[in-house]
């Protein structure tokens, strides 16, 4: 029993902390119901209270906290909107939980639990996308880590996670694999579409331990040539899924071409207005190798396969069975390999899309480019010459014999082709 008393003490202290976290979060949400940091705080507070109460055998508290967690989980995943009604219900639940926890600590099992409806279904309305494309700008946040920073990859990860709570992260420089492997000096940049202010973004980044400095700039994106047809979430999903299947097929093709086992990370899918593509990509200052091919037939437009130069050089060494870093410059032979790989990836991708939808699509011969991403993408858009409203990125990490390489396929269907795709996909 004495042991239990010791736990009572820890429970009393800790439940107080988490209740305070919940109340602070709720106060923040009264001011700004869209503040994801506060939504996260209330969610986590409730989650912890649930676990602790269950561990102590306080079932009523655990149940109430669990229902709060569930409702906040729906808000976190943007399945419900935090309307005043929802906030009032959560607030009442939090007060009830506070009293219940006090009673639990005092050993009083008779305290009444008020009935509060926390069923997410009761608050129905699915959240429509919060901000339209015009309210969300493309922003690049540059971050410098402290010189003595010892866990650069971890800090970068935390920065990107915090920023992703404030918008949709579209790219980073260097790429994700390089960040994870700490193959960067002290600075990196993150591109995201967001409605948050530049000050808030800088504050979020500088709040991370060992971040020395951060700055944010709005990227200037040219106006779309025509009014963008709206793209429902379902159509975005469908376009994304087409990309997913295409990427799998492309990896298989590459595996056949190289005669090596190629593993594929879960592809990251992104559908953005085509005018934003050069900026959203993230690799502002990195030289990349790319192949571009025109599409014709039922779907016009173009397709790009992009890899960093470093990834290409690694691929060259791997293909020739030489140790990494043997090849340091790109010559005609390297260019030819890049063309072969890019063509295989693009062909396989388009082939998958074509099979899936039953639409005949032809791919032109690929051309090789070595330039900055923005220049290559601008050129691609100019080359296509048709109206291309939306582009689908598929970004993935290929792992060839243990070597990780970031590659991206950018599928840019023209407006007619896009309509045909949606028609065939039934969305």
């Amino acid at each position: 029993m004495s042991e239990h008393a010791a736990y009572d003490q820890v429970f009393a202290e800790e439940s107080g902390e988490f209740l305070a976290m919940v109340f602070d979060g709720l106060r923040g949400l009264e001011r700004d119901p869209e503040d994801v940091t506060q939504i996260e705080a209330v969610f986590r507070g409730a989650h912890s209270l649930k676990g602790m109460s269950a561990a102590m055998g306080y079932v009523r508290s655990a149940d109430l906290a669990g229902r709060m967690e569930d409702l906040m989980g729906h808000a976190r995943d943007r399945r419900i909107r935090l309307t005043p009604e929802v906030l009032v219900a959560i607030g009442r639940a939090a007060s009830a939980l506070e009293r219940l926890v006090e009673a639990d600590i005092a050993g009083d099992t008779t305290a009444e639990v008020p009935s509060i409806d926390l069923d997410p279904g009761a608050f129905g309305a699915r959240l429509s996308p919060a901000a339209g494309p015009d309210e969300r700008r493309l922003v690049r946040v540059s971050v410098t880590l402290a010189e003595e920073c010892s866990l650069k990859a971890v800090r970068a990860h935390v920065v990107i996670k915090r920023l992703s709570l404030m918008g949709e992260v579209t790219g980073s420089e260097p790429t994700a694999t390089h960040l994870h492997e700490e193959r960067f000096d002290r600075t990196f940049a993150v591109t995201l579409r967001t409605g948050a202010s530049l000050e808030d973004l800088v504050a979020a980044a500088t709040n991370v331990v060992e971040v020395e400095e951060a700055s944010a700039e709005q990227l200037v994106v040219c106006e779309p040539e025509s009014v963008l047809p709206t793209l429902s979430e379902m159509r975005k999903d469908a376009l994304g899924e087409v990309g997913n299947i295409g990427a799998g097929h492309a990896a298989t093709a590459l595996s056949g071409l190289l005669g090596k086992r190629v593993a594929l990370s879960q592809p990251e899918l992104l559908v953005v207005p085509a005018t934003e593509v050069p900026y959203a990509f993230g690799l502002e200052n990195t030289l990349v190798a790319a192949t571009f091919a025109h599409l014709s037939g039922s779907v016009g437009g173009g397709i790009l396969a992009i890899a960093t130069c470093e990834a290409l050089l690694n691929l060259v060494d791997l293909t020739n069975g030489r140790p990494t870093d043997t090849t340091s410059a790109l010559g005609p032979a390297e260019e030819e390999l890049a063309l072969k790989v890019g063509t295989a990836l693009a062909d396989a991708y388009v082939d998958a899309v074509s099979h899936l939808t039953g639409l005949p699509i032809d791919v032109s011969l690929s051309r090789f480019h070595l330039d900055r991403v923005s220049a290559i993408l601008e050129q691609a858009r100019a080359d296509i010459a048709h109206d291309v409203p939306w582009a689908a990125f598929v970004r993935t990490t290929l792992s060839i014999e243990g070597q990780a390489m970031d590659v991206a396929l950018v599928f840019i269907p023209d407006v007619v082709g896009l309509a045909a795709l949606f028609d065939r996909l039934g969305v």
């Binding site: 971890v154 935390v158 299947i245 879960q266 039934g426």
Partner: protein, 381 residues
């Protein structure tokens, strides 16, 4: 900062101890774990951390042998911290979490955790004895895994998943299946999937083991040439071997059969038992061939109330009407819910057809299948 835990009072012990880092965001849970682990003289807790970032810092600093890692934590979650942990330490990571769906488990193992212990659901302070035994055992087992041998290939993940599921099954909630794998099937699970299907199917197979006393038949709408690689991926996801179905294959328990592109896959039965056959004459149905409706109808004919039907994410309406037939014939039916579906066409259509009243998240589909199969196994006895 993370906390170091000072040398214990067992000063002067000669025997090497297993040095453990405890990571959990709850002070209460940390305290309980410290108490539980202090009961085992071979285990020494060298530090505690309260979030993913601290866990990485502590692991680098303290170089523990084993880390117990919570999932839901501030800063970096357990799953987010795992890849970093693998780069800074050789420590074997055991995930200890109340989030114990098969999906989370699969991800944790794929990221390099060696084992997964679900936190007891009830009163932790009362079930300490149980937790104690389980955790000490898991830590000692994990310690014996050589750091270099932490492989995250599909086979290892599948084996570990199976072991964990069987362990949690034997500890109460779900009894393990007793049937011998490979026996001719009396029960069949038929699954339909389209858009978004391959990753969904991987999750389903990750949660099933080859001890399942049923055959699993899959129709996934795919372009030509995809089915061989999908079968390989599904085989790697769990312990059920999945093959591209061929004419005449006899349906066996604990085996998976994926319909290849270009013909409708069906089942029929004769003296040798239920087996695969193809209808090459029938044209595409719903614009696809194979179509789930063709498979499901034949499964209803052959297996009747011993059929289990599942419709996962996908566009269109394939599988909806035949799933209703299955339900009417006494089979069990379930569909993936809207929240976790990429496209809620087929599952939604099945629900509208009143083919089922169960729409559940993808993470719960394996449990639904196990439950339905178990119910049929019991009826059959």
């Amino acid at each position: 900062m993370f906390e170091r835990v000072g040398p214990s009072d067992r000063v002067g012990r000669r025997r090497a101890t297993i040095r453990v880092l405890v990571v959990d965001d709850s002070a209460l849970v940390r305290q309980i774990l410290l108490d539980v682990l202090s009961l085992d003289p071979r285990i020494e807790v060298v530090g505690v951390a309260r979030n993913g970032v601290q866990a990485i810092e502590a692991a680098r600093e303290l170089d523990p042998d084993v880390i117990t890692l919570d999932i839901e934590m501030p800063e970096l979650t357990g799953l987010e911290a795992l890849p970093h942990l693998r780069t800074v330490t050789d420590a074997r990571v055991i995930v200890l979490s109340s989030i114990d769906d098969s999906d989370t488990m699969y991800q944790a193992l794929a990221l390099g955790a060696v084992d997964f212990v679900p936190k007891p659901k009830g009163r932790l302070t009362m079930s300490m004895g149980e937790l104690c035994e389980q955790l000490q055992k898991t830590i000692r087992t994990a310690y014996r895994v050589s750091p270099g041998a932490i492989a995250i290939d599909g086979d290892t993940i599948a084996r570990t998943m199976t072991a964990i599921l069987e362990r949690s099954a034997s500890s109460g909630e779900e009894p393990p299946f007793e049937s011998s794998p490979g026996a001719i099937s009396k029960t069949a699970v038929a699954i339909a999937a389209s858009t978004g299907g391959p990753p969904a199917l991987e999750r389903v197979f990750a949660g099933l083991s080859s001890s399942l006393p049923a055959a699993v038949l899959v129709v996934q709408h795919l372009p030509k040439g995809f089915s061989a690689s999908l079968a390989r991926r599904l085989s790697r996801a769990g312990s059920i071997p999945v093959v591209e179905a061929e004419e005449g294959m006899v349906l066996r328990n604990g085996c998976g059969y994926l319909a290849p592109h270009g013909a409708h896959m069906c089942v029929e039965i004769d003296g040798s038992g239920p087996h695969i056959t193809f209808d090459h004459r029938l044209g595409p149905m719903h614009g696809v061939r194979p179509a789930a409706d063709v498979l499901f109808e034949s499964v209803v004919d052959v297996f009747g109330e011993m059929a289990v039907g599942v419709v996962l994410t996908g566009m269109g309406t394939d599988g909806a009407k035949s799933l209703r037939l299955m339900r009417e014939a006494g089979g069990a039916t379930v569909v993936q819910d809207e929240e976790t579906s990429v496209v809620w066409g087929m599952p939604g259509a099945a629900l509208r057809e009143k083919a089922t009243n169960r729409a559940v998240p993808i993470g719960n589909i394996p449990a639904e299948i196990r439950r339905a199969v178990r119910a049929r196994e019991l009826c059959d006895e």
